[in-house]
């Protein structure tokens, strides 16, 4: 009952967005019924398509978890994109740079190095906030640009495949690949495991309790002896770690190398997904699958129903709009005391 009630807003938002999308499709001269059946067919009918949907959902889950974790600590991490990018690049470098290692060592090593790169990139705005009071929204946005340009430079000058006309890193060793079992990518299972792990960390450990306390009331947390600076830095580092895993899986399990431009937008979709999931890590999984299904079926929608692929982007944007509106409205007016508001208490306020 309680779960149903908290899922109500996102479900209504999705339904409203699909209805508004139907109207758009109708206006653009296609049939909404055909379009939506193509959407379903293109993403869920048949193991191969279902596998593709899960593959596309994987970085979205990690990006969603990254943003959701930061929200739990009262921080708004818009830097998921940059953290993911660094994860993808470093995992790619580790994936081709180390040779002769067995899979059981090489793959996890590349994955973790990518995650560590994301964590380091995420920790920077955390340190800036804790020590200098710089707002994380500003610093993470700026660091996204820095990350994109730095990754391109590293990829061009340091780790570029010799003789390749394209700017990209060499293909990774087979021992660094994340395999796919049948049609189910292992990377997806890793992401699901992280979702449950994050839930456990937040709900069951003392550290998670500290993160949630700082997120909900930093003043009371510091009065209770919790070092809010330490928590802010760690929250951002963990958020970056999660985004970094997302980038690493993309490199090691899907693309096989790092290539600038191939991970564009994944980190930003994380914001939509975290809000749709109302920052609940378990709910991030279906939210990411939903968004991924739209990406996965875009070509079939175009082929079968003549719907422009941009329409799916519009529907995604509408979902975010409808999800965010009630939260933002309620947050602004604080009208209904006693009802959980998904954000941490203090983002945007300092």
């Amino acid at each position: 009952m309680k779960i149903l009630r908290s899922a109500l807003v996102p479900i209504i938002a999705v339904v409203l967005a699909l209805l508004a999308g139907a109207l758009l499709i109708q206006l653009s001269g296609s049939s909404p019924r055909e379009a939506y059946s193509a959407l379903f067919e293109g993403s869920f009918v048949g193991w191969e398509r279902f596998g593709t949907t899960l593959e596309k959902a994987t970085p979205l889950i990690m990006g969603g978890l990254a943003v959701a974790f930061a929200f739990k600590g009262g921080l708004f991490n818009i830097g998921g994109q940059g953290q993911l990018l660094f994860g993808a690049l470093i995992a790619g470098a580790a994936g081709y740079g180390f040779t002769g290692l067995p899979w059981i060592i090489h793959m996890p090593l590349a994955l973790l190095l990518g995650a560590a790169a994301g964590a380091a990139w995420g920790a920077i705005p955390g340190v800036l906030k804790a020590t200098r009071g710089a707002h994380e929204v500003i610093t993470t946005i700026m660091l996204n640009f820095v990350a994109a340009n730095m990754a391109e430079w590293l990829c061009t000058k340091v780790w570029r495949e010799p003789g390749d006309i394209l700017v990209r890193t060499p293909i990774i060793e087979g021992s660094a690949e994340i395999p796919t079992f049948g049609n189910i990518p292992l990377g997806f299972l890793i992401a699901v495991a992280f979702a449950f792990g994050m839930w456990y960390l937040l709900q069951k450990t003392t550290f998670g309790f500290e993160v949630r306390s700082v997120g909900l009331n930093p003043s009371a947390a510091s009065y209770a002896g919790i070092s809010t600076k330490r928590i802010v830095i760690l929250t951002m580092a963990i958020s970056g770690f999660l985004a970094g895993i997302g980038g690493s899986i993309e490199t090691l399990g899907v693309l096989g190398r790092y290539e600038p431009g191939f991970n564009a937008g994944l980190g930003f979709d994380g914001i939509t997904i975290a809000l749709l999931a109302r920052t609940n890590p378990i709910a991030v999984i279906p939210s990411a699958v939903l968004i991924a299904s739209m990406d996965a079926s875009a070509s079939l929608m175009q082929f079968k129903a003549g719907v422009a692929p941009e329409i799916t982007d519009v529907i995604e944007a509408l979902i975010l709009l409808f999800v965010a509106t009630p939260i933002i409205v309620r947050w602004f007016f604080k009208s209904r005391q006693g009802e959980e508001i998904s954000f941490g208490a203090n983002w945007g306020s300092s």
Binding site: T205, A220, Y223, E340
Partner: protein, 508 residues
């Protein structure tokens, strides 16, 4: 239509108002005569604010009617109320800090010269005259944010008078005032009634009701439980009406038996948030088994003192000893572990994590200790067991220990904090404004807990702006003024008047 001699200035008849399942006002009647000071008395959540918000047009009543001078009127907005010459001074002032006194007063009703040009000069003169006439002098050209709280309140009152209010509603006006300012306000109110203004005075301070009110209406749980003449009752009688049972207003306590010095502060210098000196060479000793009360007008360094002791604010110089151990430079966690309990002055902001459950809040300072955690994993069963035990022992009224703490009433929130702080083994208890804004029944309970802690040998440092609280609980009193301790003595060597003078001027 009414059989009283004086005509009724304002009347509420059969007012009902619900917020969801909560009935805030149930068949409430209020009759305010012309030139009368009518006190509205009740605990927090009794429905006083709801009632006056209906009278001022901020809420719409579900049932019942409001009559002004015998005529039924529709109150749909504060604009209607102002039309009917009703003015209200809210507990939290509704002033624009960066505007001048005059600009604030005329806001919404600006005087204009020909061609729509604002005429502030004329308005400023009017404000000045009004101020002189009622003893509410304030510089009409001063910027509001530069004025002390007491003067800001004058601006609020002048604003209503400028609009020729016949009825003035004051929501807890004395909560922010010093004893002297309170006395002055009461005089002003008297002079207003002499001019025929009627006043509705919301308070939970019984002394003020007895001192000034002509009539008192007592509310409890949304209903009027009595209308009485203050001359025919006393503090105990009013308290009993408010709470519904007899209450002990003054906790009986035995002579203190102070022991060793627990807290020793020497030559402490601390800055405030704006990097101005907040404490100047502040020295103080608190011994085990005594309650040391710090009296003072708020903003004289009390908050900085408490934060310095608890490690939340860095020291510029000086030392803080707990027993023999130097605490300066230690983290808040280390200091708390050394045996300091702290009831913070702002319970919503500093004392509780509102969305967390009552149980989580009850272990907020010990969640990492055994048995509440083992190797970094929280032990829910142990937390719940402790929470159930504390909820029962401290009589916290909550439907479940799993409910969010923010859903509790103010008094129950304070009980949660007291339960948490008093149940952990400590040698020093810091209690800052421990009974602010909570009901009489909870005040009695908290006071008893402080005395019990003292009798158990704890050193208690009580910081309060309520002089009555300081006088009735403390064994020794220190008066703080502009960051300095200007006087220390056993409580019975001070009179109320002396402390009041020390609080406001630094000398007696």
């Amino acid at each position: 239509m009414n059989n009283q001699q004086a005509p009724l200035a304002l009347e509420a008849v059969g007012i009902c108002k619900s917020f969801g399942p909560l009935v805030a006002n149930d068949e409430v009647n209020l009759q305010v005569e012309k030139g009368q000071i009518h006190a509205l008395l009740g605990e927090n959540g009794a429905g006083k604010s709801t009632l006056v918000n209906i009278l001022f047009g901020l809420y719409k009543a579900d049932e019942g009617e409001v009559r002004v001078a015998g005529e039924k009127v529709e109150m749909n907005s504060p604009h209607d109320a102002i039309e009917h010459k009703i003015g209200m001074v809210h507990q939290h002032f509704q002033l624009v800090p960066v505007l001048t006194v005059t600009e604030n007063i005329v806001l919404g009703d600006e005087p204009t010269k020909k061609g729509g040009v604002l005429d502030f000069e004329k308005a400023a003169q009017e404000v000045e005259e009004l101020g002189k006439r009622y003893g509410l002098e304030v510089d009409p050209r001063a910027v509001v944010e530069d004025l002390p709280i007491g003067y800001q309140q004058r601006v609020e009152i002048l604003r209503s008078l400028y609009r020729q209010a016949d009825v003035l509603i004051l929501d807890e006006p004395t909560a922010v005032l010093t004893p002297q300012e309170t006395d002055h306000l009461l005089e002003v109110l008297r002079s207003l009634t002499a001019e025929g203004v009627s006043i509705i005075f919301i308070t939970h301070k019984l002394r003020e009701v007895l001192a000034i009110a002509d009539k008192v209406t007592v509310m409890r749980r949304g209903e009027v439980v009595g209308v009485t003449d203050p001359k025919e009752t006393n503090e105990e009688g009013l308290a009993e009406m408010m709470v519904g049972r007899s209450v002990v207003l003054r906790i009986a306590k035995s002579e203190a038996t102070p022991g060793n010095t627990v807290l020793s502060i020497k030559e402490l210098n601390v800055l405030d948030d704006r990097n101005q000196s907040a404490l100047k060479d502040f020295s103080l000793d608190v011994k085990e088994g005594e309650i040391f009360g710090i009296a003072g007008v708020e903003g004289n360094g009390q908050r900085e003192l408490v934060e310095a002791i608890t490690g939340l604010r860095p020291l510029v110089s000086g030392s803080i000893l707990m027993g023999e151990k130097e605490m300066s430079g230690c983290s808040a966690r280390e200091i708390s572990e050394e045996g300091i309990s702290h009831i913070p002055e702002n319970r919503e902001k500093h004392g509780l994590v509102g969305p967390h459950s009552v149980a989580d809040n009850l272990v907020l300072n010990r969640y990492f200790h055994s048995p509440f955690a083992a190797r970094g994993i929280r032990q829910t069963a142990a937390i719940n067991e402790e929470a159930s035990h504390l909820v029962e022992k401290f009589d916290v009224r909550t439907a479940s220990i799993h409910n969010p703490a923010r859903t509790l009433s103010g008094g129950n929130k304070q009980k949660v904090i007291a339960a948490r702080e008093l149940s952990h083994d400590s040698s020093l208890l810091l209690a800052a404004q421990p009974t602010r804004g909570i009901d009489v029944g909870s005040i009695e309970f908290i006071h008893q807990q402080l005395v019990n802690a003292r009798d158990a040998g704890v050193a208690v440092l009580l910081v309060s702006a309520e002089l009555d609280e300081i006088l009735s609980l403390s064994d020794r009193v220190g008066v703080i003024y502009q960051g300095k301790l200007v006087a220390i003595a056993p409580t019975d060597e001070f009179t109320r008047i002396q402390i009041g003078q020390l609080m406001t001027s630094g000398n007696s």
